[in-house]
Chain length 212, copies 3
Amino acid sequence: MDELLRWMDFLAIAVLAVSGALVASRKQMDIVGFILIAAVTGFGGGTVRDLLLGRTPVFWLQSPAQIGLCAGLSVFVFFFAQRIESRFRSLLWADAIGLALYAIVGTETALSFGVGPAAAVLLGTVTATFGGILRDIICNEVPLILRKEIYATAAAAGAALFVLLTESGLAREYAFLISAGFVFAIRAIAILRGWSLPTYRRRTTNAFSDDV
Amino acid sequence: MDELLRWMDFLAIAVLAVSGALVASRKQMDIVGFILIAAVTGFGGGTVRDLLLGRTPVFWLQSPAQIGLCAGLSVFVFFFAQRIESRFRSLLWADAIGLALYAIVGTETALSFGVGPAAAVLLGTVTATFGGILRDIICNEVPLILRKEIYATAAAAGAALFVLLTESGLAREYAFLISAGFVFAIRAIAILRGWSLPTYRRRTTNAFSDDV
Amino acid sequence: MDELLRWMDFLAIAVLAVSGALVASRKQMDIVGFILIAAVTGFGGGTVRDLLLGRTPVFWLQSPAQIGLCAGLSVFVFFFAQRIESRFRSLLWADAIGLALYAIVGTETALSFGVGPAAAVLLGTVTATFGGILRDIICNEVPLILRKEIYATAAAAGAALFVLLTESGLAREYAFLISAGFVFAIRAIAILRGWSLPTYRRRTTNAFSDDV
């Protein structure tokens, strides 16, 4: 499991770093801006997880390999992003893989710290979404989390599934792959079909005339 | 005092969670979005307080009851917010109660950690305002803190009053209730009368023509 | 070195606090708003550094002098900002000095914690930029980091130079002054000449028609 977790962690950082670099390219930043936004996106969720659990110094301070990965991918995107047909679509897909992986990595870490099931699901959801939220806030983009299709819900559903599967005795490796696949599948359908859950509906337009 | 503090903490989380859910309803999010924004708003200030003081794992990771409270209230608001005449007004009032309670809870925690008076007032103000700031930033709303009426000032004044009262020997329970009431009273008048302190005034419009 | 570091820390907090207060004046906040934004800007970078390294309680909780400095400068700016010809220019310069100092203070702290060179440069860049990022996000301004001239790059270059100089055996005091001067010089030229690095260039406008 530890080996699997380590690789999934690397993969999550890689795809989220790419998603960060793609937003940097939309904002026409310079190369260091690419690396900084890629690092914030790739390391953001895991950093918040480590801080909340009290695991400091946070993970990337001791991992030159992960920083190198981030920087290398940023440079790559900087030079080749112009070849990508649609950067926004690529961003959505990279973000989806990162969301799926970090949701389960976060939940698993929380459980291994002896945190209860509800808190583990919440921490998994926060870990999965915060890198992207930081990326969008710093870059002045509308956060993906505010878009209509299912987003945080996919992460929360996968985190809950992972808690259920491991508590029911399934080996963690299988539980991990099934749950992460579940998050990605929901998110993929949401992207492809513009899927969304029923959202809160406004009563009338008039009733909110004093809403700023 | 510990008993009182515990209940005030619950009440603060409850009203801030409701304020978060109300913003989620303004943004027409789905149910998990409601719960996530409610949790960020309700737990945000206390989380920042715990991180700054080094109290990790942060409080809500060990408190399923508080997570349940947040989730329950989010579901409630999700189904019943449409019955509320004005969600923005309700949001202002819920936010005001949360601001009052967290300002004093934050200051009291800082003092009990042996932090000096000025730092305790600053930490109380940060604890009181950060949940709401996070809520507004993630949801792309203009932060309440930028509105013209008195906001952070109410929290800071109450935090300072609490430091004064406890240092002058008043029992913490009374100091708590008086100071929290003071914050709420200031904020209530500010909301009802559009009260504001004298703010910085621009000299002329021309002089800032190079301001972006 | 410790003495120098202590003074540079104070100076960094002072100029960043002024930059925060200047943004507060652009937003026409009241006096407590000035102090709060000045504190967030002045203490923000160092707070993130301390949290990531696990140095809690964070530095300003034990430093009434630094809080007093922040508050005093905020009051000063509140009353005298209207005399300043251009608040935006002043903000750029105060921010530039703070960026230079915090980039090297952050890198030096990371190195003294036994963090590797790549992580130290990243932490220095984050320390240097996060106070300003928080200031701009909370105040709803376009982050300086998104402007076209060199910004984060200056911090990263100086942090890298500091790592190189100290590893090559130069006394830390000299390395500090040279590297901080280097950051400031780059940033100064960038401000004066509107200097920028080659940024990512869009291929055509059409190709991104589905970019939101």
